[in-house]
């Protein structure tokens, strides 16, 4: 059977199924410009429309489903049999493997959709920022799949320390610059003050937005916004079908949370379909947003260029410690996920780097896949739940999202080995 037959026809949008209204995005008091208006100038129109849609199911364009097939969707749903045996648990453990896509993580799911909507609008060039490089990689590939050009502003320190990510982006056809650059006014201002500035995600994003505005290109967003969560729902829609085929009813669904897009994409379709009893969002103890964050209006971006959204946040100026899971170094939680956590529909866990490292090693040695350090957070929670099931002798069905592989994060694994010992 051709793959594309198995690819979902709809994305799922949780907004109409939330228990309470989602507080809308706002401009800050006395704003000198409207951030909501800015969104209108930089995002592809259809992306913006989907950001504010209340339709429960949004049709995935055929052109997007075609590209989803090319990157290997549906991604496999695998059983972690060896891990179950090792743990001696009566629980069944399944995982959805987003690392099986060419760019190695779930990010490509929304990059393809956003690039398509830009191309459909007659735009020839897309722009974004990237930190460690996962999002940038996804954007360069997605752009090339629709014959678009792409420009990536990569945080300078990562550009210098992670040449492999830069190389992939260039091989995919993207132009990658170490931010701050002299291509934008904002970058030039920073460089004038400090020519050796290491860069930051906020600076790179400001540069990307300025560059897009200046040239009438479009800017692509990597996480947090509702529209990104919507596109990522392809993960959960596939997983529901795959579990149905196996005749399994999931008891719990687990995912890691950076901004929330892989978690939401995986879990929301289950919430919508009223499948599963327990939903667990996992974060890093070093970035304690679930335990110490406040539920309030804050900027989703460190540059403060996007509209304020109500979310669980440590504050946009919070500087996360340099843990090895770079993708979890984010101050907030996507608004709809924040609301579901506040309403106690989604539970949360936080684990330390050392706990995660142990779980990652166990997974590698039993299942063979090197997980992205971010995804290893979901593995840790899964192991804990499987051990709990062992204690109570319950045949739970646990499904987690392995949002990416860690083969390009070996440097991070090396550094944690040095810190906590092999």
């Amino acid at each position: 059977m051709e793959n594309s037959v198995l690819i979902p026809k709809y994305w799922y949008n949780i907004i109409p199924d939330l228990p309470k209204p989602l507080p809308p995005p706002r401009d800050p008091p006395n704003a000198e410009f409207s951030r909501i208006e800015l969104l209108e100038k930089i995002l592809p129109k259809e992306v913006l429309r989907q950001q504010f849609t209340i339709e429960r199911f949004v049709k995935i364009p055929e052109e997007v489903r075609d590209r989803y097939a090319i990157i290997g969707r549906p991604t496999p749903l695998m059983r972690a049999k060896r891990l179950e045996e090792y743990l001696g648990t009566p629980a069944k453990i399944y995982f959805k493997y987003e690392g099986a896509t060419p760019t190695g993580s779930h990010k490509i799911n929304t990059a393809i959709a956003q690039a398509y909507f830009a191309e459909e609008e007659g735009i020839s060039h897309v722009v974004t920022e990237t930190g460690a490089g996962q999002w940038g990689t996804a954007v360069t590939l997605a752009a090339s799949m629709y014959d678009l050009e792409s420009t990536i502003f990569m945080v300078k320190v990562s550009y210098e320390q992670k040449p492999m990510r830069r190389i992939i982006m260039e091989l995919y056809g993207g132009k990658v610059y170490a931010s701050p650059t002299d291509l934008t006014e904002f970058g030039r201002k920073i460089l004038k003050e400090n020519p050796n500035h290491p860069g930051s995600l906020g600076i790179a994003m400001s540069e990307a937005i300025e560059y897009a505005l200046e040239h009438d290109y479009r800017y692509l967003v990597g996480s947090v916004l509702d529209v990104v969560l919507l596109h990522q729902s392809v993960i959960g829609m596939e997983t529901i079908a795959q579990l149905d085929e196996l005749g399994e009813e999931p008891d719990m669904l687990i995912g890691c949370v950076g901004g929330g897009s892989n978690f939401a994409g995986f879990v929301y379709p289950f919430i919508g379909a009223k499948k599963g009893k327990k939903f667990i969002a996992v974060g890093a103890a070093e970035i304690p947003k679930f335990s110490s964050g406040r539920y309030e209006y804050d900027y989703p971006d460190t540059a403060g260029l996007l509209p304020l959204v109500k979310m669980i946040t440590l504050g946009k100026d919070y500087v996360p410690p340099p843990i090895y899971a770079g993708g979890l170094r984010y101050h907030g939680v996507a608004p709809s996920l924040s609301l579901l956590i506040k309403e106690k529909i989604v539970e949360w866990r936080e684990y330390t780097e050392e706990q995660i490292y142990e779980a990652a090693k166990l997974f590698m040695r039993t299942q063979g896949i090197v997980p992205a350090p971010e995804s290893a957070h979901a593995i840790k929670a899964t192991i804990d739940e499987a051990l709990l099931a062992k204690k109570t002798n319950e045949k739970k069905v646990i499904v987690f999202n392995l949002s990416g592989h860690g083969l390009l994060d070996l440097g991070n694994y090396d550094s944690i080995q040095k810190r906590v010992g092999k």
Binding site: I15, P21, P24, P25, D27, I36, Q51, I54
Partner: protein, 245 residues
């Protein structure tokens, strides 16, 4: 059935003289309800154009009671005050009493069902107890059941904003949004919030809106082309509404 025109203007914009002329003439030209904005401390759910109008008037408008009293004398359609509940939490009763005493008809708090969702019923009750009408503001992010309840308790009409903020043309499918709420609403359904091109307006009316609320477009017109041109726009919109009557 006659479709409703709800005309919005910020109190005293751009100055008292033009403000009175605009609202009085707009009533002559077929405005059914006047929605008058009082500048809030933080206009969280308004767009850039209306925010700017607040800024213009708040530099000199210190007292809102007398200008409203004047306005009441010269127009006979319902006057609904639009402002944010947030600013009146500590003195809501006296604020509502003051409005009632000068024969203002009702209030609309855009933040009521967003920021005070857990006890909105209490506030609606307070408004009604003071003899004022409570016009409820809803939008696409509200769950279906809440829209149903709100439509039943809202006075005059139910306000449904199709965009997340006024005056910013975020692309939305106006017709599908309205189609969704039309059968939930057992009340007059007035559509607003960024409804400022004729295409949207016609879509809203043909999918079953009982009326429209227009504000940003009038302010922009006054700003760019002056009072006469803004009044011409009122006339044109009235004409479109009447095509659907």
């Amino acid at each position: 059935m006659k479709r409703m025109l709800v005309t919005y203007m910020t109190l005293g914009y751009p100055n008292l003289e033009i403000f009175y002329q605009f609202v009085e003439k707009s009533v002559e030209l077929g405005t059914d309800v006047l929605e008058i904005g009082l500048p809030p401390k933080y206009a969280k759910y308004d767009g850039p154009v209306i925010r700017k109008s607040y800024k213009v008037v708040s530099s000199w408008l210190k007292d809102y009671i007398n200008p409203l009293k004047e306005l009441r004398k010269s127009v006979n359609v319902p006057i609904v005050i639009l402002t944010y509940l947030e600013d009146y939490l500590s003195n809501l009763d006296s604020f509502l009493t003051a409005l009632h005493e000068i024969n203002i008809d009702g209030v609309l708090f855009p933040d009521l069902l967003i920021d005070y969702i857990d006890n909105y019923e209490t506030y609606v009750l307070s408004i009604k107890e003071k003899g004022l009408k409570a016009v409820l503001f809803t939008g696409p992010s509200l769950p279906d059941n809440l829209i149903k309840i709100a439509s039943k308790i809202s006075d005059l009409f139910l306000y449904y904003g199709v965009r997340p903020t006024t005056g910013v043309p975020i692309p939305v499918s106006v017709d599908s949004l309205i189609a969704r709420v039309r059968n939930l609403v057992q009340n007059k359904l007035v559509i607003g919030f960024g409804l400022n091109d004729f295409n949207d307006l016609r879509k809203a009316l043909s999918t079953g809106a009982d009326g429209v609320a227009i504000g940003t477009a009038f302010i922009e017109e006054i700003e760019k082309n002056g009072l006469q041109s803004a009044l011409q726009l009122v006339k044109t919109i009235r004409g479109v509404l009447d095509e659907y009557s």
